[in-house]
């Protein structure tokens, strides 16, 4: 019995100690004017319930987590989230017209073809840094461009 408990604990250990979030398909839209905010998108998957607490990028003074909400009358509002739940089961998909990371105070215009590092901080998984490719102004995502 004791052995079983130890084995169970050992089996559970990697999950608690190494909560992992997978970031796929990150991309940003080329910005039009350096003075205007940019937007970045990605897909988050986690092997346990986690929360995205913040995001930072050297190209921007501030990265805000935004949900876009469109009501029945077609009015769209951006909802500024302090943190974003990443449920283990479904993950979170960012995309044009929906969830996005808003990059405020860009040091430079985001030029198509470039890329920049983006660090995401999760409650359990800690920090993850991904390279974000900059796609064209008209792009709807890396899949569409493939």
């Amino acid at each position: 019995m004791n052995h079983f408990l130890v084995a169970a604990c050992l089996a559970a250990l990697p999950m608690t100690a190494l909560a992992e979030v997978t970031v796929t398909d990150p991309w940003a839209r080329a910005s039009i004017l350096a003075s205007r905010p940019g937007a970045a998108y990605l897909t988050l998957e986690s092997d346990r319930d986690d929360r995205l607490l913040s995001a930072t990028a050297p190209v921007a003074d501030l990265v805000m987590i935004h949900a876009s909400e469109t009501d029945a009358n077609g009015v769209t509002r951006m909802i500024h989230l302090d943190a974003l739940d990443v449920p283990a089961a479904q993950g979170v998909q960012f995309g044009p017209g929906g969830m996005h990371l808003m990059l405020i105070g860009l040091t430079d215009k985001l030029e198509e073809g470039g890329q920049f590092p983006l660090t995401l901080t999760f409650e359990h998984a800690g920090d993850t840094t991904v390279e974000v490719p900059i796609l064209g102004v008209a792009s709807t995502g890396p899949e569409a461009d493939r």
Binding site: I32, R36, A39, T76, H100
Partner: protein
Amino acid sequence: MPTASNPDALRRIRRLLWAAAAGAAVALSGITLWRALTPSDLPAPRVTGEAAIVNAYTLTEHTGRTVTPETYAGRWQLVFFGFTYCPDICPTTLAYMASVMDLLGPDADRVAPIFVTVDPARDTAPVMADYVAAFHPRLIGITGTEAQTAEAAANFRVWYERAEDAAAPDGYFMAHSGHIYLMRPDGRFEDVFREGDQPPEALADTISTLIDNES
């Protein structure tokens, strides 16, 4: 100046000050209440058809000239209201309109794609010129005074508001309705679309069919 030797005057001033404070408190709570209630109390912007949407405005084009809908008469007009500080919906919709223009081929000559800003304080004509050029050479950017913008939006039944957000550039975002209006060459309302409801090919087809059926 009343002095301590005149208690009556002091009492009167004290009463006056209390009254003013009470008045201010009532006004403040009134404003707060009004703010809290207004969004839901506003008549809902609803697209009920031709009668509701009026293609009427006097604004300034990105080129600097004054424009009205008559400026674009003879062409079908795709009209979208947004703002250049909008990181997501506006670039997405404008890129969509640009795709539609490209897909229209020669029919694009018969279409004027128009982007009207609801944030004219920051989106001046030169800003609009830089901004629209990034999307499509034919895209027209339009700005104006606050009053002209409000009038244009009201005529199109477009709803927008300033949303305060301390972290936002200059402390605010604009919330706005994301419709693309299709107006006829004579200026009357034809239809309304949303980016995301149909691929650009479908909207280009719809417009091409309308153009074909004209003659």
